[in-house]
């Protein structure tokens, strides 16, 4: 089986790997939409969706009931509904861009995963930890930012192509908001990479190396960056919320004042693509946060993964690495939802004030502070 796989041409191998990753990401994104409904329900004191079931699962004692109570079949029913609904095309839209926008939303969201390592395995031959990643390239975080920020085009396109005032306002807001928070986000990770790239070594922007530098021995070496640079983590977190258009920064959507924002004119499967994209973006954003600040696949601070899985078979070690990483990312997605159902939305001018007058100076000051601090530490 393995030999058969290794005999395939490289591009087929890559395509297979990519497909597998997409087949994991999209269900996670779908499950997130269900989790969103459940978390909102629990926070509001409701049981949430728990009625739909399919007969042959309902017959399984206990487990079938559990799945039904969890609302798993609502997710399937919703998905099926989206696929089979009539494809409505409003008469006043620009057809080409109207159809393009949901695709533009989904493609960058799924592309960023290419450079995000989502686990690690122990290579017995070289006695080193290797990343489980689609393309282990050195641009890493830069590619995440570059491709991830393309998703704003989908909102602008959707807003503009809908040829209707509320979507248009949503699109305008999206562009302004994403541009303002992009800056703080990029600035907030600079100290991390200053710390990772010790002078004399090869410069790297790879996310794998970030995790590696959180798995060093010693007090400072094993410390997750969230403890080492809490301010960076905070700025990155706030910017991440704004970048993924999550409450309290969901200006482009803000259903209270803009009907549905950029997706007002969308329905059925196209609409659901926007949401799959949003959740995929959120999943990958949480993944990047976990890698940068929460030690990636290291189970606990000061407990690196490599010695734990060194003796295990390669697939088991790899699965443990992926499992730890996924668990952390999912916990982080829960934080996204928890915050969404806690905070009201900021007003648009507040969003701009926070972005330009608070967060950006904070990020710049933060970079200067850590640059100086790292210089002092490296010199001594």
């Amino acid at each position: 089986m393995i030999d058969l796989y290794l005999d395939l041409p490289v591009w087929i191998q890559s395509a297979l790997k990519g497909l597998i990753v997409i087949m994991v990401i999209i269900p996670i994104a779908g499950a997130c939409s269900l989790a969103e409904r459940k978390v909102s329900a629990w926070i509001q004191g409701r049981p949430g969706p728990n009625r739909a079931t399919v007969p042959w699962v309902a017959w399984i004692p206990f487990f079938g009931k559990f799945l039904q109570r969890l609302g798993v079949f609502h997710l399937m029913a919703d998905g099926a509904k989206f696929i089979f609904k009539e494809d409505v095309l409003p008469g006043h839209v620009n057809k080409f861009y109207y159809y393009l926008a949901p695709l533009v939303a989904l493609v960058p969201a799924l592309c960023t995963i290419v450079v995000v390592p989502f686990g690690a395995y122990f290579d017995a031959a070289t006695e080193t930890l290797q990343p489980v990643i689609l393309a282990n390239v050195d641009v890493g975080i830069l590619a995440v930012f570059a491709i991830g920020s393309l998703s704003v085009y989908s909102l602008i396109l959707a807003g503009w192509a809908s040829n209707s005032k509320y979507p248009f306002l949503g699109g305008v807001r999206a562009s302004a908001q994403l541009i303002s928070y992009e800056l703080s986000m990029t600035l907030s990770v600079i100290p991390v990479f200053l710390w990772v790239n010790a002078p004399g070594g090869n410069g790297t922007l790879s996310l794998f190396d970030v995790v590696q530098s959180q798995s060093q021995p010693g007090f400072l070496g094993g410390m997750w960056f969230v403890f080492l640079m809490p301010l960076c983590a905070f700025v990155f977190l706030v910017a991440l919320f704004a970048e993924t258009n999550r409450q309290p920064f969901d200006m482009p959507e803000s259903e209270a004042d803009l009907v549905g924002g950029f997706h007002t004119e969308y329905g059925e499967f196209k609409w659901s693509l926007f949401f799959v994209a949003e959740y995929a973006h959120m999943t990958i954003g949480s993944g990047v946060f976990v890698l940068l600040f929460l030690g990636g696949w290291n189970p606990l601070p000061w407990v690196p993964l490599a010695p734990l899985i060194a003796g295990l078979p390669i697939w088991l070690g790899g699965l443990i690495g992926i499992g730890v990483f996924l668990a952390k990312s999912l916990a982080f997605i829960f934080l996204f939802m928890w915050i969404r159902w806690t905070l009201p939305r900021f007003r648009y001018d507040q969003v701009m004030t926070i972005g330009w007058q608070k967060l950006l100076p904070l990020a710049i000051g933060n970079v200067i502070f850590y640059a100086l601090a790292i210089a002092v530490i490296e010199r001594s």
Partner: protein, 180 residues
Amino acid sequence: MSFKTVERKPLTFAERTYVPQILSGLKTTLRHMVKPKETLEYPETRPIIPDGYRGVPTLVKDPHGREKCVSCQLCEFVCPPKAIRIKPGEISAESDQAHVEKAPEEFDIDMLRCIYCGLCQEVCPEEAIWLQNVFSMSGYTREEMVNDKTRLYELGGTLPDDHFKWDKKKAAEEAGNAAH
């Protein structure tokens, strides 16, 4: 001086960052998340109906199985939306209830008109019409939504009676003061 100047404090730095408020908000929502749920899962679990609830109006019988309504039509006249229609009838002379004289021949309450005000129950001198705890009335046709006499007695059932007024009257009529 009869008033006191309250110092209005400017927001502290921590408050202006929103962070402490956000954290306390998160604490609140987390508490709600683990709390027992507030909602009922309706058709399976039913709400507890409080005493004196005004549900669907019904006709009741006394514990001896006598229909209490004497078709005085007070409820029909008091009914603000005119939901009640009564056709009075006579009780036949052979019946052992003949001294009550009247009973409704037909008694219809149109639930599409009824506003659940409870005036009929309030006005009834015989305590024969009661708004009980059925709160959900539905049907597919207009005809189905009109409760006729049989249906009203089905819904109403029997309620306890402290007086047995008509039994006492009959006893008094037959035996005079010796009845006591």
